[in-house]
Amino acid sequence: MENQYYDNLTVSSSPHLVTGLDTRKTMMMVLIALIPSFLVSIYVFGFRVIILTIVCVVASVFFEWGYNKLMKKPQTIGDLSACVTGTILAFNLPSSFPYWMAIIGCFVAIVVVKMLYGGLGRNIANPAIVGRIVLLLSFTTQMTTWPVTRLAATDATTGATPLGLLQAAKGGSVTLPSNMEMFLGFIGGSMGEVSALAILIGGAFLIWKKIISPIIPLTFIGTVFVFAFIYYSIVGGDYSAMHMAIFHICAGGVMLGAFFCATDYVTSPIMPLGKVIFGIGCGVVTMVIRLWCSFPEGVSFAILFMNVLCPLIDNFAIKKFYGGAKKNEK
């Protein structure tokens, strides 16, 4: 040891310590949070859920890998973001959806929406949401053909979603599943969105682990609830306004969208005020589409719409926040 000096040490700017939670682990947490919904979905719709999810994940990862390979860019599949996109896209599909169509959805999500814009962090819209919308518009029949759940007491091979029932009735008399059935998830719908309870468990996990902020889910779901309550208080109907408000937050993609799609970091605002505006906007657009448009469901359109507005919202919130602080100083 005598006279051995080290004068070629590594220098770098402080800090020299970082948290263990990197992008990869963040994405891992999201995947973990999706497990409850995955399990309920397998229970309700059967084995095909597993295969369709795996197909979407493998296709998404493959497209990202292939794009990087082709463009001679550093490989980024290790960040697991493609796995998350694939899983969420799969959760937005009916379990009977053809595999090859799902692969097209993955191509749109990963290559068109994400990689062509510059990869993770650069996309302006949520890849899974756009993937779903493209599939919905391209393969409307397959995207709205809902396999019956194992608990349904009929011999039919396809069933309607609660929102579909509501849309078909168009203000007329309708018999909806009970709110408890909807909350637990034994109803028709896309794979991952059937059980509000399972999504809430996953969402609570993400909030507890501080992966997501509760602002967007709360304002999104809260807006849907309040909007529905006021609407049904005015128009009336077979069910009480309270019943319909709870129905609307449990039905369709509100829960999945609010906790897993609208909270996507890249396409949602950073500032708390921006998150509030974003969440309320998602809720309002969702309800407008559900109540007055020809689509029974509007969550994915609402999120896409707000994604596009996100830079404006964030800029507004930043100006509001730091502009205000400046005034106080003077």
Binding site: L9, T10, V11, S14, P15, H16, V18, L21
Partner: protein, 438 residues
């Protein structure tokens, strides 16, 4: 007194206080010390000695007329063998006075307890002691203790919040030199004219809090109280500490004294308490030596100017080849390029890490998660700074309040994409200064 209900944002950076139980060991005098003339944030001193001079402990060897500066004293007795220039950790060139120690450690003539009778003699004593902010900022203490609005200052805070991971030297000071802390604080409060004093300590040092509570009660001191802080980073930052205790926001550019508060690091106060007794200037320093590349991590007291490799040898040598050596803690400390560098007054830790532990950043794309904003004690937006800096947009940086950043490193710590945000904040501040935006 309990903490405020409201806290500024903070992070859990881990504690790694491996050496908290290590009683301080006094290091033997090394053969050679190299005493830097740049040991405060202001102007460097000019050497007052030349090659061949005999010097003694506490002898003035560097001083200057500059207002913001503090004199430098010899830490050993021996012979000056040369005046060297060496690149410093900051990147500039430092003048070093090299002294070959005779190991007798004779005190310089005329060293005696200072006579303090009024405010000017108090300020003079502080300057003569060679004291700088020992928490790491190395701001000349005599300037801090002589604010323009001294009549408005009502609160004195002893900063015992050692929020940097790994470092335990302040903790050891509070346990081993508690009486000096109390003596120093009382004298400082007397001449600042402050009614209220706090010793602020994080709750992960209950022994230090209990020790002070007991001593203050026994000695019947009622105007100094302990204040328990959250054990989170960066509670020890001056502007954060002031908010936690007084509830007042201390923006960048505002002097704590403007809010009626003066904050001083606990080791600075303890040293001053000692100086009141014996008049020996600041010539040695307690520091934590830790890191996975060090054989025997411990707390030591070493003469200022001791070269790092001598200290490492005293700590059992390197366990493995160091990749990074830090002066200070891992959050704000400086990575240095050579272990031949000497320690300076404001060093409170030396951390040596091997290749496996040394964090070498590998940046990936920003995912807009907003964690940097949530982590920032002042609610700033580091990712916004980084984007604006990449576009060299000084106006936007200024609009986003980049000048409020204190470079605590919390944003870089939490960034899942490993972006060097804190560093870019620093560059952004430089850009705004260059652009001259007010």
């Amino acid at each position: 007194m309990s903490s405020n209900a409201k806290h500024l944002h903070s992070i859990d950076a881990g504690h790694y206080k491996n050496t908290a139980g290590c009683e301080t060991e006094v290091m033997p005098i090394p053969d050679i010390v190299k005493i830097s003339m740049s040991q405060n944030i202001g102007a460097p001193c000019k050497p007052l000695v030349k090659k061949g001079d005999e010097v003694k402990v506490g002898q003035l060897i560097g001083d200057t007329d500059a207002f913001v500066s503090v004199p430098v004293h010899s830490s050993v007795s021996g012979t000056v063998t040369g005046i060297e220039t060496q690149r410093s950790a900051m990147g500039g060139n430092d003048t070093l006075v090299v002294i070959e120690a005779d190991k007798k450690q004779e005190l310089a003539e005329g060293i005696k307890a200072p006579e303090i009778t009024d405010q000017p003699s108090f300020v003079k004593a502080v300057r003569d002691s060679g004291l700088v902010g020992l928490g790491g900022a190395s701001f000349p203490t005599h300037i801090k203790f002589n604010p323009k609005n001294i009549d408005d200052v009502h609160t004195f805070i002893v900063n015992g919040a050692e929020c940097e991971p790994f470092i335990t030297s302040d903790h050891r000071t509070m346990l081993e030199d508690a009486q000096q802390v109390i003596d120093g604080a009382q004298m400082i409060m007397k001449y600042l004219g402050t009614e209220q004093g706090y010793i602020a300590i994080e709750e992960n040092k209950p022994d230090a809090i209990a020790n002070f509570d007991k001593m203050l009660a026994e000695q019947g001191i009622s105007n100094i109280k302990t204040f328990k802080l959250q054990a989170r980073y960066p509670k020890g930052a001056e502007r954060v500490l002031i908010y936690e205790i007084t509830g007042k926001h201390c923006d960048a550019g505002v002097l704590p004294a403007d809010l009626g508060v003066i904050v001083s690091n606990v080791t600075s106060v303890a040293f001053f308490g000692q100086y009141l007794k014996d008049g020996v200037p600041l010539t040695k320093k307690r520091m934590t030596v830790d890191g996975d590349a060090v054989n025997t991590p411990k707390n030591i007291i070493a003469p200022i100017g001791t070269q790092i490799h001598d200290i490492m040898e005293f700590c059992g040598g390197y366990k493995s080849a160091p990749t990074k050596i830090l002066m200070g803690g891992p959050m704000m400390g400086r990575a240095i390029f050579s272990d031949k560098m000497p320690i300076v007054k404001n060093n409170n830790a030396l951390l040596a890490f091997s290749k496996s532990q040394a964090f070498i950043p590998e940046e990936t794309a920003c995912i807009h998660c907003g964690r940097c904003h949530v982590a920032c004690p002042f609610d700033l937006l580091p990712t916004g700074f980084a984007d604006a800096y990449e576009q060299r947009d000084a106006q936007r940086l200024s609009d986003l309040q980049v000048m409020q950043c204190m470079e605590c490193g919390s944003c870089s710590f939490v960034c899942p994409a490993r972006r060097p945000l804190s560093f870019m904040n620093k560059l952004g501040k430089g850009l705004v200064k260059e652009a001259g935006i007010k």
